[in-house]
Amino acid sequence: MIASIRSEWRKTRRRPAFLVSAALLPAAMLFAYIYLYWSYTHPTAREAATAAHDLAGLYPADFTNNALQIAFALGALVAIVVGAIGFGSEYGWGTIKTLLSQRPGRLANLAGRLATLGACMAILTLAIFGASAIGSLAAALLQGQPIVWPGASTVAGAVGGIWLIYSTYALLGAGLGVVFRQAAAAVAISLIYLVVVERVVVQRLADVGWPPGVNAGKLFIGVNATALVQLLDTAPAPHAPAPAVGAGQAVLVLSAYALLFIVVAAGLVWRRDVT
């Protein structure tokens, strides 16, 4: 498995999808800081009353909250694409044959690739939190404010939560990449899942109250991921809706989905002919 991780990392670190993602997410985070800083320091008449309070939200004490919002909004899609391309393109290029005809067995090879995918999600997570920390530090320094960082447990919780969410979505993309043996279909189906199933269908089920007595939405990735982000936010908006589920359930459901995608991918890689 170590050989597989080393090999996978050697190519992943040059894979355009990963490199673009690793640059895009922190860039988006920094852009958000720059835009918000400029907006709050140049408020319109309507914004003037809350500008100082809003500006304080950009300081280091809130950097994890800011990272959570941007990371979740952009990162889920990016994670899906990285997972789908990473696993689907091996079939499209035929490189899966090259991989599987080397020394490690099929499952050891898959385990190494999954471990590397998890590491990539950790890198993306750290990149976005790092960018948020830099943005918040710059905002505080520009305003001459004291530098007060959140506690280590707050940072660890936020980073861990986003890593779990990213990994779950990346495994969704990777699993579909293995199922369809190509990246394009995996990305397309993932997008349909994100937009149609997680938004339209879940909302519709909630509206009609079906199945009776069960909140079906609580079983979907999106609802649990949203709830986890809300729970990790130490300064939620005053009138924000309450999280749909508790932290324990959110972590459990996301982990269960991650495990499901791993099992599906492993089953297919183990059993299926590679032609």
Binding site: A3, S4, R6, S7, R10, K11, R14, R15, P16, W93, G94, T95, K97, T98, L99, L100, S101, Q102, R103, P104, G105, R106, A108, N109, D273, V274, T275
Partner: protein
């Protein structure tokens, strides 16, 4: 050490769509030989090779490759292969692609440049694989197969897509590898290639192994040709020696339907009778003729 490095028994593959790609293939590849796996396109060569490296599982039958079942990591560690077209990452250079393979195969990175050099790709090692020509891709595939200095090299039509010079170099490379004591299983639909490179050959047709033998044995010897003067006198003596039914005149020479082991006897008899013998040789059936007999199909060579 076992004498055979590949042994299959009744290897059969029927795909889900019902296509029977290989049927009861029982073949033996001995250590140190260059074995040609010959068959027309679509005969089932690649299917068998895929089963041997564990990419697909047989529907029936069994195989032992380098002492282990196909796909077993211990067997794969001793096997270098290029099955189907060479497949690598287009965004990586040739050298970096080989490093990816070396990491997986447990081969030292020092081997990478040696393998690139062996296939004459060192000069293009820094270029992205996506920009390689078909021939360069194929050579990189062979370099990847050589990387772990395997006991067994499985090459599926390695000259495919190469220009004539590239084909000649590839055949030289295969012969070199074979001469260094390694075993090579080379699939090809090119008779000339197999004839030039291989010690033994297995012919597959419609998924079935129709014969397996040494190339020379496959071609066989069917009689002798004698060119001698005076021809009438030579005919008379030979007809007396073998019987008139076995001797015939053909294109200014005499054809004898008898084994070449009697050539020395024929020569001595004619010379002692004062007949000048200008040519005496065995008649060899071309591999192409044998192939057509076996498969009913003509192939380019």
């Amino acid at each position: 050490m076992q004498q055979t490095i590949i042994e299959t028994h009744g290897l059969t593959k029927r795909y889900r769509n019902g296509v029977l790609a290989a049927s009861g293939v029982s073949m033996t590849v001995r250590r140190g030989e260059v074995y040609g796996f010959l068959g027309p396109n679509g005969a089932g060569k690649t299917t068998v090779l895929r089963m041997l490296v564990g990419l697909i599982r047989p529907t029936a039958g069994s195989a032992v490759v380098a002492g282990h079942p196909p796909g077993d990591p211990r067997g794969l560690a001793a096997t270098g292969c290029l099955v189907d077209a060479a497949a690598f990452y287009p965004f990586l250079s040739g050298r970096e692609n080989l490093r990816v393979v070396a990491d997986l195969a447990g081969a030292p990175h020092a081997q990478v440049d040696a393998a690139l050099s062996e296939v004459d790709l060192l000069g293009a090692a820094g270029r992205r694989f996506g920009g390689y020509s078909t021939g360069m891709k194929q050579r990189l595939g062979v370099a990847a197969a050589l990387l772990k200095q395997p006991e067994l090299l499985i090459l599926d039509e390695p000259t495919s897509g190469l220009d004539p010079q590239g084909m000649a170099e590839m055949r030289r490379l295969v012969r070199d590898v074979g001469s260094r004591g390694r075993t090579v299983l080379l699939s090809s639909h090119l008779l000339g290639e197999v004839e030039q490179v291989c010690d033994r050959v297995g012919v597959i047709h419609h998924g079935q192994l129709v014969t397996e033998s040494k190339v020379a044995d496959l071609r066989g010897h069917h009689g002798m040709v004698v060119r001698a003067e005076p021809q009438d006198r030579a005919y008379e003596l030979l007809a007396r020696m073998f019987g008139p039914a076995l001797v015939s005149r053909r294109d200014g020479s005499l054809s004898i339907e008898a084994g070449p082991e009697r050539m020395q006897e024929v020569n001595a008899m004619l010379v002692s009778a004062g007949i000048g013998v200008s040519e005496l040789r065995p008649v060899e059936t071309s591999l192409e003729d044998v192939f057509i007999q076996l498969t009913g199909e003509e192939q380019g060579s």
